[in-house]
């Protein structure tokens, strides 16, 4: 091994060290240490002669190790390492001993300090003895740059880099670049119009050949290291093609949905399709879509309820009906009889009551009938394969509707004389007039669906033989369930379904005076109310459970009771009693509810000895429906409940090409469920015919929108459905629910919260001449590779409502800084007029400084721009109104170029400056001149008097604060936050754009509040740093890093968990941890934690550190 020759140099550092420590003595001491060949002291080692001394000694004495005892290595380690490498000595064979910050500067006792300095030098000598030469590595730098944030900071940085012909990815999460600066009216101190100076830069950035602008996009993931970052960017779907949109705005005119406009700070509303401001770059519009509305997700058939409700609110009834008809044709039918699962999940219910969606649907149908329905244009049958549907109930008709729209020839076979299934034969006229049903069936036929009534199908083989490619069985569950009680066959005992069918077919049914209906479903209630209308005097319903468990629609039950039906809860008949072969009474028994049964409802249990009798002339049994197995082909398989067994997703039966759905599969259910089944069958049949997998991607799950904004929504009662008076209903089958008129419908539709925002009514698509709208757009993840990243994400405005004594949010005319900007802006909500909320001009305005800034209760820092913008506001108020202006300030911070002059100008304009921070803003007047005003209370500290200043408007100079998601963004880019919440720079004075993560820079307000001139300067600075890296093409990576000994590593991965720089990864093949040399910062945590001592911290090995410790102690 080569002989170690160490040179020790003790620096005086003027009197910094020499003033306390006897430096000559320390040098003398160093000479006594073994391998020390040379030991000197000198006034300033870092000076040129000092450096030359070291170089000469290395050459003349053959030194191969150097120790400089002086200041902190953070000051001059790089200096002396360079000296060594200049003298052809490896720079890592150098050690700095800190005898200034660690010794001379912290001790007063010279003698003790000198001894300590000797110990420090001893330690350094022992350590440097063990140093090994290390090589720094270089990594190449990718010349692309990522700029995150398209405000003035991001735009400036991007333009500077792009102008030097290097590629920039500019990512902005809003639909347009411009940031907060584009919201401003004028800028201080020049009073330049903000848009006028910014839009040329925006335009340049938008069209620059070297800038790839990704608007409406966010950074999703960052990995890699300086010079070599891999970034995943999420391009959010705009639903508008940027290259096609001309920005004409016709779409927004037609959009029926309004939500608060974020760019205008909620002062006005915007439509779901919008452009943030006229000069937006890119100029394209964007659609705000937040998922699927709960009503749409809840509907089994996927009807877009929000779509038609939003159009009704705007009076576009025809278009609304068009939205419904995209999914199914039964506006009038479902609008009357649907069980409305949509209303059960309606978000409006959390405010007051759900929107009356079902009745609005009905309204659309009635409206069309009133104005006259145009005959539907037959659809061209483009497909050759024909489809047969058995059963013309809602399932069958819905299936046919969807198939004809795809161009398939469809024939519906119906056994009964008229089409409609239970819609026609089960639901009474007063609920669903047959004329309404006729109209909608006619519509389906006009489109081209062939319906053959009075044509029962018994042999499906026959259908295949006739050339039908696929068959949909939708024959329903039309058989009445038998009760199984003695006397069920007696004359006078009727079954509900046959009863209703007869009545609806026009057959005269005679009933006695007293009728009892058994059951609790819709059929029972229908039967009871029909019985009343046929003249029965006493009608009762007997139901074995309680009101809460009744499956019938609640409003129907209430109407039945209003009409006079008497409901016996918790009772059931045990036998029918007859006299002369005619029914005279039923014997019933009372029930109580026990444990829940398979349906989840509590099982009714008879109470012994509680029998009672009801005298009746007729009993109508409505206790359930079953499938008529006998009417169906024997080859089919059935479930235990007697319904058809099918694949739950594709509805395929066991017979190839035969599908089934509706009540025949599900058992007795509702119409909308049947319609949903018909639609699923249509999808299956189309796929079957094309030979495509039946189940792929099914069932389709729609994501219900998560959070729905409800701020400021006033409670308003749901529109009441006008109904036929009770007297008029007697003996009449006239419709009971009368429907909304236009005004009521529009008012009710306006209650809709528009949960998903864009309702997909597709009006914009219809009206866009440029065909720029693509409602099916999806989010895209793009991966880019860059060498450096500039973070320019800007600031959020402080919300002053937390300062309750200022009354923001309580008083109309207390507004925040940005709100005032929008008011002054000619493109803003008031067209540039400064006015109170009642439209009048203010006669006095107070501007309050330091709202949320310089305040231990909110933010301790000063926001830097508020004094200046307060002056600017004063000027604008003076220019545009006759109002008196008061500024309540603590200090006037006018530090920049032209700023103090601006302050002088405003003093000349006659603004009243009151030095005193405002204690509160109140409307409680204590004198006549204060009545009707907002009174600003403060102490005029220069006068030493309390000031109560009556004004009309109060403008709060709100603080600039870090973005709400600053912590998440910091984590993504490995940045730190300073105590005030903004991103931490590398050094507050000497390096304000770099961060502790090499290659990532922070500029603009995200690093701390600042004005536009400083932001632009900082952006240029960061651009220069990035360009410097690109120009050099490579970056040096520190050699004092950690390394894993592969032989010893056991693969426990403890180090991986601990590394805060994500520098350690696990090699699956070798089953060991691997350290990325470029990411490792040499902090030593992994080396300390490794239980096997497999990791070495180069330049700080265990032996080296032990040597140091020995040196200090000995």
């Amino acid at each position: 091994m080569e002989e170690k020759k160490i040179g020790v140099y003790v620096c005086h550092c003027g009197t910094n060290i020499a003033g306390t420590i006897d430096v000559e003595a320390v040098a003398e001491f160093a000479k006594t240490l073994g391998p020390v060949a040379v030991a000197r002291d000198y006034k300033f080692m870092c000076s040129d002669p000092g450096q030359a001394m070291i170089k000469d000694d290395i050459r003349d004495h053959g030194l191969n190790r150097v120790v400089v005892a002086a200041c902190s290595p953070r000051m001059h380690e790089p200096t002396f390492r360079r000296v060594c490498s200049d003298a052809r000595l490896n720079p890592y064979l150098f050690e700095m001993a800190n005898i200034r910050e660690h010794c001379a500067w912290v001790h007063e006792d010279g003698g003790a300090a000198t001894e300590k300095a000797k110990a420090i030098v001893n330690a350094a000598v022992r350590k440097v003895y063990l140093h090994e030469p290390l090589e720094t590595r270089e990594v190449p730098v990718n010349p692309n740059v990522l700029v995150v944030g398209g405000g003035i900071a991001g735009i400036q940085a991007a333009l500077e880099i792009a102008d030097s012909e290097h590629k920039v990815y500019l990512v902005e999460r809003e639909p347009s670049i411009g940031g907060h600066m584009i919201q401003l009216d004028k800028t201080f101190p020049t009073l330049d119009c903000s848009a006028c100076i910014l839009t040329p830069k925006m335009s340049a950035a938008g069209s620059h050949p070297y800038i790839e602008l990704m608007s409406y996009s966010e950074v999703a993931e960052v990995s890699g290291y300086v010079g070599n970052f891999k970034v995943k960017i999420r391009n959010k779907p705009r639903y508008v093609k940027v290259d096609k949109c001309t920005g004409c705005g016709e779409c927004a005119k037609a959009c029926p949905v309004e939500v608060p406009f974020e760019f205008e700070l909620g002062l006005i509303n915007r439509t779901a399709i919008y452009r943030p401001f006229p000069q937006a770059v890119p100029t394209a519009f964007v659609i705000d879509k937040r998922g699927y509305a709960p009503c749409r997700v809840a509907c089994p058939a996927g009807v877009n309820a929000q779509g038609y409700v939003s159009l009704i609110s705007r009076g576009k009834f025809k278009e609304a009906l068009g939205v419904l008809r995209r999914t199914m044709p039964f506006a009038g039918v479902c609008g009357r009889v649907c069980t409305h699962p949509c209303e059960l999940d309606c978000e409006r219910a959390t405010v007051d009551e759900p929107v009356a969606i079902r009745s609005l649907k009905r309204f659309m149908a009635d409206y069309e009938l009133r104005v006259g329905r145009e005959k539907a244009t037959p659809i061209e049958k483009t497909k050759e394969d024909k489809v047969a549907i058995v059963g013309s109930g809602p399932a069958g008709l819905a299936c046919g509707y969807d198939l004809i729209k795809q161009g398939y020839p469809v024939t519906v076979f119906e056994a009964l004389p008229q089409a409609g299934g239970l819609l026609r034969y089960g639901i009474p006229e007063y609920r669903l007039p047959q004329a309404v049903l006729d109209n909608e069936i006619k519509y389906i036929e006009e489109l081209g669906v062939e319906i053959k009534t009075s044509t029962p199908v018994t042999d499906i083989g026959q259908l295949f033989a006739q050339g039908y490619r696929a068959i949909f069985l939708a024959t329903g569950a039309g058989l009445s369930q038998k009760m199984g009680i003695p006397g069920e066959g007696i004359q006078g005992v009727i079954h509900a379904l046959s009863f209703l069918k007869q009545v609806n077919s026009g057959v005269k049914v005679s009933l006695g005076e007293r009728v009892a209906v058994i059951g609790g479903g819709n059929a029972a209630v229908d039967a009871a109310r029909v019985a009343l209308r046929l003249g029965a005097k006493e009608v009762a319903i007997v139901y074995r459970r309680s009101r809460e468990e009744m499956p019938a629609i609640a409003t129907e039950v209430l109407e039945a009771e209003r009409e006079g039906v008497n409901i016996h809860f918790l009772a059931t008949p045990v036998k029918a009693l007859a006299q002369d072969d005619r029914l005279t009474a039923i014997e019933c028994i009372r029930m109580e509810l026990g444990e829940p049964d398979a349906s989840g409802r509590r099982r009714p249990v008879p109470i012994k000895g509680s029998e009672f009798t009801i005298d009746v002339d007729n009993v109508i049994l409505a206790i359930g429906q079953t499938v008529d197995k006998a009417a169906l082909p024997k080859e089919l398989t059935f479930t235990g409940w007697g319904t058809l067994s099918v694949d739950p997703v594709s509805l395929h039966t066991n017979i190839d090409g035969v599908f089934a759905g509706g009540d025949v599969v599900a058992g007795p259910a509702d119409a909308i469920g049947a319609i949903a089944a018909g639609k699923e069958a249509a999808i299956s049949i189309d796929r079957y015919i094309r030979g495509v997998d039946l189940s792929e991607g099914r069932p389709e799950t729609l994501k219900r929108v998560e959070k729905v904004a409800k701020e400021g929504v006033q409670r308003k009662a749901r529109a009441a459905m006008p109904s036929l008076g009770l007297k008029k209903r007697e003996g009449s089958f006239a419709e009971v629910e009368l429907g909304f008129d236009e005004k009521a419908a529009m008012e009710e539709a306006k209650r809709c919260l528009n949960c998903a925002v864009c309702s997909e009514c597709l009006e914009c698509v219809r009206l866009c001449e440029a065909e720029a709208i693509d409602q099916g757009m999806e989010e895209e993840i793009v991966e880019v590779e860059v060498g450096s990243i500039i973070v320019a994400t800007g600031y959020d405005a402080f919300d002053p409502s937390v300062i309750s004594q200022y009354g923001y949010g309580r008083y109309d005319n207390v507004i925040s800084g940005l709100e005032f900007e929008r008011m002054c802006n000619a493109a803003g909500p008031t067209g540039g007029d400064i006015m109170l909320k009642n439209g009048k001009q203010p006669s006095a305005v107070a501007i309050l400084h330091c709202v949320g800034s310089r305040d231990a209760n909110y933010h301790e820092y000063c926001s830097r721009v508020c004094c200046m913008y307060a002056l600017k506001y004063s000027h604008l108020i003076k220019e545009r109104t006759d109002a008196d202006v008061y500024q309540m300030y603590m200090d006037m911070r006018c530090f920049g170029k032209g700023y103090e002059e601006f302050y002088k100008r405003l003093s000349e304009e006659g603004v009243n400056f009151i030095r005193g921070k405002v204690a509160k803003v109140t409307d409680r007047a204590t004198s006549d001149e204060e009545k009707g005003k907002l009174i600003v209370v403060c102490e005029d500290t220069l006068l030493g008097r309390i000031a109560r200043v009556p004004v009309d408007m109060v403008v709060l100079c709100t603080a600039l604060e870090a973005r709400a998601d600053a912590l998440a963004v910091a984590r993504m880019f490995s940045l730190s936050l300073s105590a005030d919440g903004f991103f931490l720079e590398k050094h507050p004075k000497l390096d304000p754009v770099a961060t502790m993560t090499d290659g990532i820079f922070v500029v603009g307000c995200c690093q701390g509040p600042k004005d536009i001139p400083d932001t632009v300067a900082q952006a240029s600075g960061a651009a220069a740093r990035a360009l410097a890296m690109i120009s050099k093409g490579k970056v040096e990576v520190e050699a004092a890093i950690a390394v894993v000994d592969e032989e010893i590593c056991s693969g426990c991965r403890i180090c991986e968990l601990l590394c805060t720089f994500n520098a350690i990864s696990y090699n699956e093949d070798k089953k060991i941890s691997v350290i990325n040399e470029a990411l490792c910062k040499g902090c030593g945590v992994c080396a300390a934690a490794c239980p096997s001592a497999a990791i070495t911290s180069k330049h700080f090995t265990a032996e080296q550190i032990m040597a140091e410790i020995e040196g200090v102690l000995v």
């Binding site: 330091c850 209760n857 603590m890 921070k917 204690a919 403060c938 102490e939 500290t941 030493g944």
Partner: protein
């Protein structure tokens, strides 16, 4: 014209007396703007702090005795300056220099000799409870009831203590009083500057607590609550302290106390400074009032953190305030403005001040003053 230079000795004295918070003040004036005194006269706390910063406080002026320690200024101060501590420090110096207004001096002397500010005999301290079912606290008793000098001696405020006793007995709680062994908590005299007196009173009380094995204290007055909870730990001992409204709120939340009698009154609750701004107790008294059937709870214009001080804290109770300058008058007006039948209170000092105002304003026939506990007792009686 004399040059104004900082009077270093005076500044050091203030710092020694515990008022070094003035160093942080940057003279913004929010304290002056917030101070309730400016509703009835002029008082600029900022100016007083400014004088302190330069050691120029006039110890003989009335101004140093104006602060009622309501803490509105401290709550809003953007530098976090503890103004009440500065006022206390200045008054400490005044007390040492014997520059104390006469009426306050009388109260302080009384406290020093008989342990209460009213000049009443110590032996009579437990008389308020002699006809009630109240035992003397001994080792092993669970809860110490500390009635406060005011309910103990003043017949007007007595109902505050007797109501608490009724609740405690209804709950079958194991409680007792120390009677003649009690001394004033001293909270107000400490704020009035007599630090030595406070220390001696505290030592007496703590000795009595420790000797009797006191662990948990239920106070009637928010001032005693603040003193025991926040200031007594300076002596190295901590006790569990709750205020009567907290105790009631706990009982009601646990379902152990259910007011059933309908009271049918429109009630406005006045937040006392010591419960509210000092200890953030705003919700418990309201929860208690809301649980009484038939009560319509309304908020006064300045409520919760903005509550208007009655003007009785920090020794002000014993200083003369001319009729036009009474803050409690304004509070009565506010209660009438919101149409209250009852103004609900939780502090004996508020009780005295507001009672006084109610009588002098002649509004006793339209507005009643009731302690929160008193209302609860009315709602549980048969």
């Amino acid at each position: 014209m004399k040059a104004v230079a900082p009077f270093k000795e005076a500044i050091d004295t203030v710092i020694e007396a515990g008022g070094d918070a003035f160093k942080l003040c940057y003279q913004c004036g929010v304290c002056s703007g917030s101070c309730p005194w400016n509703l009835v006269r002029t008082f600029l706390p900022r100016k007083l702090i400014r004088e302190t910063q330069f050691g120029l406080v006039d110890l003989e002026s009335d101004e140093i005795w104006r602060c009622v320690g309501c803490r509105t200024c401290v709550q809003r101060c953007p530098r976090g300056v503890e103004l009440v501590d500065i006022m206390r420090a200045i008054r400490r110096i005044a007390v040492e220099w014997r520059a104390v207004p006469a009426s306050l001096r009388t109260a302080m002397t009384s406290m020093g000799t008989v342990g209460n500010p009213w000049g009443e005999a110590r032996e009579k301290r437990a008389d308020w409870a002699k006809d009630l079912d109240v035992k003397t606290f001994t080792k092993g008793t669970e809860l110490l009831l500390f009635p406060c000098c005011t309910p103990a001696y003043d017949p007007r405020a007595r109902v505050m203590a007797t109501s608490v006793v009724k609740i405690l007995n209804a709950m079958g709680a194991d409680f007792g009083i120390l009677g003649v062994e009690e001394s004033c908590c001293g909270e107000s005299v400490r704020k009035a500057g007599d630090e030595a007196l406070f220390q001696s009173l505290a030592r007496d009380n703590i000795t009595a607590f420790v000797e009797n094995g006191v662990k948990k204290i239920l106070t009637v007055s928010p001032h005693c609550y603040n003193s025991f909870k926040k200031e007594y730990p300076e002596f190295g001992l901590e006790f569990e302290v709750i205020h009567s409204t907290q105790y009631l709120a706990e009982l009601i939340e646990q379902g152990r106390l259910k007011p059933t009698k309908e009271l049918n009154k429109r009630v406005a609750y006045h937040d006392s400074c010591c419960l509210g701004r000092y200890n953030d107790i705003y919700d418990e008294p309201r929860e208690v009032l809301k649980s009484i059937p038939g009560i319509e709870l309304v908020e006064l214009p300045d409520s919760r953190e903005e509550s208007l001080c009655c003007g009785g804290c920090a020794g002000r109770l014993w200083l003369e305030t001319p009729k036009e300058e009474r803050l409690s008058d304004i509070r009565i007006e506010q209660a009438l403005e919101v149409g209250a039948d009852v103004l609900a209170l939780s502090c004996p000092y508020c009780f005295l001040n507001l009672e006084d105002s109610l009588l002098t304003m002649g509004k006793g026939d339209v507005l009643e003053l009731k302690d929160v506990t008193q209302l609860v007792v009315e709602a549980i009686q048969e």
